[in-house]
Structure formats: C-alpha cells, structure tokens
C-alpha cells in the first residue's frame, strides 16, 4: 500500500496556481526525489502535505487517512515530519535541547527524551556539539541538526527540503550518506534537491514539477532522458 497518496492537489494564491492538479503516490521505504526549476511549487507542495496550507483542491492521504485541514502538529504526531529549506534552529537552545523538543513529541519524560535525542544526535554525528547553542553552529551542522530534530519525532515519512543547499561537496556527501542510512532504517523520504547528481544517485523515483504542474515522473534514468524535463531546465536549444 502506498504510504502517501497525492490526488489532484491544487493550491491557489489569489489567481496564481502554485500547484495545479498534482498527483502521485509513494511506496513505503522508497526515496522520492522532487525536482523542478525555481518557483515550480516544490516547497508549496511540502507545505500543503504537512498542514501549513490547506490545499485548494484535491486530497492528501497518509497511510490511507485524509490529511486535508490537519494542523502541522497533528501531522507530525501521525508520523510525517519535515525540515525547512531555510533552516530554523531554536537559536538560544542547545543542540541537545533542540533535538529533545523533537523527541518530546513522543514522550512526556525529559529523561526518555534525552536518550532518544542522543541516539539521533549520534546518527548525524553532532555528539561533540550537544551543549552548544544552536544559533552558533555553521550551516553544515545546522542542516544536520535539522535532520536529527525531525528524526527524533520518530517519523515514518520524512520530507527533506533542500538539506544540501549551501553545503560544500564534502558536507553534501555526508548528507547523502545520512539519507541512505535513514532509508536503511525503513523510513520513507521525499527529497527536494537542486543538486542533480545527488538526486539521481539517491532517488528511487523522481517527480518533476514545472510552474506548478507535474511535468514527469519516473526512475532517474527515465527522467534524465525525458525531453520535456531537459527543455524545462535548459530550454529548447539543448533539448
């Protein structure tokens, strides 16, 4: 059974269609890449799925349940968590406290939350930084903190919004390994990314958005050879 079904989802801001009639399904345990030029509506789709905007039309089903109109905190409790394109560390709190906030979604005990948080901090290798204020971290570590924090909410579906944006190649490589590691733990992931090499390497399937519409869907090989996709990215001449 598909863990996430997007059925004819549209989102309008006034007259502007940020998403129009987008449909696709995600199987359990897979990595779905979501790509498209700037302004294609990738982040808007994330916001619709995670409850920040109600979709104007269409339906979002998570584990067969309708998600439309649920608040973000309910969505998180049901097992779907997201990161932010522009990282949002809880700046004055320490790294450990940041991740504990995520873990407290599943427990009321600080002790249990601390253990759960430490486990995820070790996964992203931030253990040397636990008492460091999150606001003082460099960008690469902030991105890792973001991932550790959502992992601590024990999600079944993880939505990663450009976790490699602004990172150097070595840091990107580390994140790629992290994403594949998360996949091995059985967590389904949807990944927005601009780094084509990376997305081709990690994705099982890819959905391409262009001006709010779904342009193509398929395996990485199919997408690379898709004429429409190349046109959308590079223009007629190269296609």
């Amino acid at each position: 059974m598909a863990i996430l079904e997007i059925k004819h989802v549209s989102k309008f801001f006034g007259g502007l269609a940020a998403n129009s009639d987008v449909s696709f399904e995600m199987g359990e345990g897979m990595i779905m890449g979501l790509i498209g030029p700037n302004g294609a509506g990738k982040t808007t789709l994330f916001n619709c799925i995670t409850g920040y905007y109600p979709p104007s039309r269409g339906e979002i089903l998570f584990k067969g349940e309708r998600m439309n109109g649920l608040q973000p905190d309910r969505v998180c409790k049901l097992g779907m968590a997201r990161t932010w394109q522009k990282v949002r560390p809880l700046a004055k709190m320490t790294v450990l406290d940041n991740v504990m906030v995520g873990a407290l979604c599943r427990t009321n005990s600080l002790k249990v939350a601390r253990e759960m948080a430490m486990e995820q901090i070790r996964v992203v290798r931030l253990d040397l930084r636990i008492n460091f204020p999150a606001g003082g971290l460099p960008i690469g570590e902030r991105k890792k903190l973001e991932v550790a924090r959502v992992l601590a909410t024990q999600p079944q579906l993880l939505l990663l919004d450009e976790v490699m944006g602004g990172l150097n190649p070595a840091e990107s490589e580390e994140i790629i390994r992290l994403i594949l590691d998360i996949k091995r733990r059985g967590i389904t992931q949807m990944v927005i990314e601009h780094d084509m090499k990376a997305i081709m390497r990690i994705s099982d399937r890819i959905v391409v958005l262009n001006s709010g519409e779904k342009l193509a869907e398929g395996t990485p090989e199919e997408i690379v050879n898709n004429r429409d996709v190349v046109t959308a990215y590079l223009g007629e001449y190269h296609a």
Binding site: A81, R82, W84, R88, P89, K92, L110
Partner: protein
C-alpha cells in the same frame, strides 16, 4: 563518550555553592522580621517580593514562551478588584477572595488569549495593550460594581483564624512580609518546575520559532494558553496581595499601562527567560525607584561635600531631584537595555564566562 563543554556548562562544583547560598539567604529572609522592626524597611522588602511575583509570572509567558504581553495589568487589576469587591461589599475574607480572583482571571485570560494569540510579534503586543485598556475603562465606568474612579478603600481586614485561634490580625506589616515571601518563593519554584519539564521545552521552542515548534508536534494554541494561565494566575495573586496590603485600589493604580510596563521592565532589567531574572530585576528596580522617590541621591551628593546644601545648586537639587525621579529612572532603564541586552543576570553570566574561557586558555598554554 566525549562531550563538548561550553564554558558555563561545567557547573557541578558551582551548584553546591549555589544551593548553600540559596539556603542561607532563605533562612535570613525568614528570620529578617525578628531583627528588623522598622516598618519602612519591611515595606521595601514587601515591595521587593511583590515585584518578584509580578516579574516572575510575566517571565513564564514573556520570557519563556516569547509572547510579549504589555497588558498584564489586566490580570493584576482583575485579581485586585475581585478580592477587594468580595472583601469590602460581600464580607468575604481575602484568603477566600483570592480564589475568586484566580477563577475570574482564568476566564479573562482564556478570553484575551483567544483574541490575542491569533496575532504574532508587535501585533500581539498591541492587542494585549488594547485589551488591558478596555479592562481599565470598564472598571472606570462600571460604577455600581467597582466604584469607578473613586476606587475601593478597605475599611478593615478580618483577622485570619484557623479553628478558632487567631493566627494573625494583619495589624503590622509582618504577616504581609511572610505572605509576600512565600508567594515569591512559590513563583520561583513554579518557574523552576516549568523550566525543568516538557512545558519549558515547548514554551522555549515556541519562543525561538513558532513554525518550527509547530512542525515538531507542538500544539501552539494549547501551550500558549497554558503559559498564559500560569502567568495570569500569579499576576492575579500579586494583584490581590497588593490590594489587601495597600488597602486602596482604583483603576490608575492597578489597571493602568504603567503597571504593565513595570512588570515587563522587571524582567528586561533582570534577564528574560531565566529563573532568577525577575529577582535580580526587582533587586535593582525597587531600591532604585525608592531611593529616587525619597531623594536619597540629593542627600548622598550633599554628604560627599561636593555641593553644599545651602548653595544655589544644592537648593535646586533638593527641590527638584525628587520630582525628576521618573526621568532618572527612565534614563537608567535605557542605559541598562543599551549596555546589557540580556539583563543584569545575562551580563554577569557573560563576564564569568569570559573569565572561564581565559582561564582555560591559560591552562592550555602551560
């Protein structure tokens, strides 16, 4: 496992010293009225406790949850008025009246929360001011209930009895001293409990980034309202305590904007979002405003002999410095905010942290 330690995280040795010091201060505070009989000194101490309670309760909502309410006079006044009306017109003793005050304040807080929490940042601040002003104008005009601008004067406080024996008759300031002390300690304990529980983590997450907190499974409406209710209940207690202690209330003294601003200042000066911030803030502000009001500064200048009391400048200072107390107070507050953005407590912490860092470097170079 190796852990990275920030300079201030190493606090094992420090915490025992702190605990002993806290205990000694506590014992001293409880014995204080046995040795000091001056009603004026006791009055200053009571004002200090009152200020700690007010600052501490605002700190839960403003300091930990980041909802900068500048309308806390609404809860202060609601508590004060309920207790006074019950005592003066219904002959309900204040130790029952305060519960009435708390009940009403919870209802008022939930109502205000349902309006104001839809807004964020500066809009929330403005809405909180507006709601408190509505409360003040209501109290001004509901003459049948609140006696309007004339206010309510407490003619007598019924003695506090338990099982027939009189515990206190409220004739001196000592019973008020102890009530204030206990309430202030209670406020600090509640703050400590909040900080060391799930509540504290959720509150601070909301303060740091609402949207991120929301995406991590924190129900914003529920947690903001919990913070508001804790905060409002303690502010109401402070209001009731103030009303019974002073014995007179009217809208300008318990519901005005300056009360709201004062409450915020206690925390800003002391250190927002810290357990002892309100204590430090009160420790600075209460003596300061008292010294300015009773013209202690002019007297101190005369004592140093720089200016003689009879000279032209001396006469001017004597006549006018006390009148300028609000101005001087304001200037000092601006200076503190400019040079100590994290409050006095944050400033001290920064100084000690710097020392610890240089200390570490020394050991490294050896």
């Amino acid at each position: 496992m190796r852990t990275f330690r920030t300079p201030c995280a190493n606090n094992n040795g420090f915490s025992t010293v702190a605990a002993v010091t806290a205990l000694l201060i506590l014992v001293a505070l409880f014995l204080f009225p046995r040795f000091v009989e001056s009603p004026y000194t006791l009055h200053i101490m009571i004002l200090f406790f009152l200020s700690t309670i007010m600052g501490g309760s605002w700190n839960i909502l403003g300091g930990y949850t980041g909802q900068y309410s500048v309308g806390h006079a609404a809860y202060f006044g609601a508590g004060a008025y309920t207790t006074m009306i019950l005592m003066q017109y219904k002959q309900v003793p204040p130790w029952y009246g305060i519960w009435g005050g708390i009940a009403i304040v919870v209802v008022v807080a939930l109502f205000i929360g349902s309006i104001c929490f839809r807004l964020r940042g500066p809009y929330f601040v403005l809405a909180s001011i507006a709601v408190a002003e509505i409360m003040r104008l209501t109290a001004m005009n509901l003459k049948d209930l609140t006696n309007g601008a004339e206010g309510i004067l407490a003619t007598e406080i019924p003695p506090f009895t338990m099982g027939g024996t009189v515990i206190t008759d409220f004739l001196t300031k000592v019973p008020f001293y102890y009530i204030g002390l206990v309430l202030a300690i209670l406020t600090i304990i509640v703050t400590w409990l909040v900080q060391n529980s799930k509540l504290g983590y959720c509150f601070q997450a909301i303060r740091e980034d609402q949207d991120a907190a929301h995406s991590l499974g924190i129900n914003l409406t529920i947690y903001k309202n919990i913070a508001l209710i804790i905060s409002a209940v303690f502010t109401s207690l402070a209001g009731s305590f103030y009303a019974v202690y002073i014995g007179f209330i009217d809208p300008p003294t318990v519901l005005a904007l300056d009360i709201s601003v004062q409450i915020v200042l206690i925390c800003i000066i002391g250190g927002i979002g810290t357990i002892y911030g309100p204590v430090v803030g009160s420790l600075v502000l209460v003596p300061l405003s008292e010294a300015l009001r009773s013209n202690l500064i002019a007297q101190a200048i005369f004592k140093t002999g720089m200016v003689s009391e009879e000279s032209g400048i001396g006469v001017f200072l004597k006549d006018h410095l006390a009148h300028a107390h609000a101005l001087i107070y304001g200037i000092l507050v601006v200076i503190v905010i400019l040079f100590m953005p994290d409050g006095v407590l944050g400033f001290i912490k920064k100084l000690t942290a710097k020392k610890a860092v240089t200390g570490d470097r020394l050991t490294v170079t050896e």
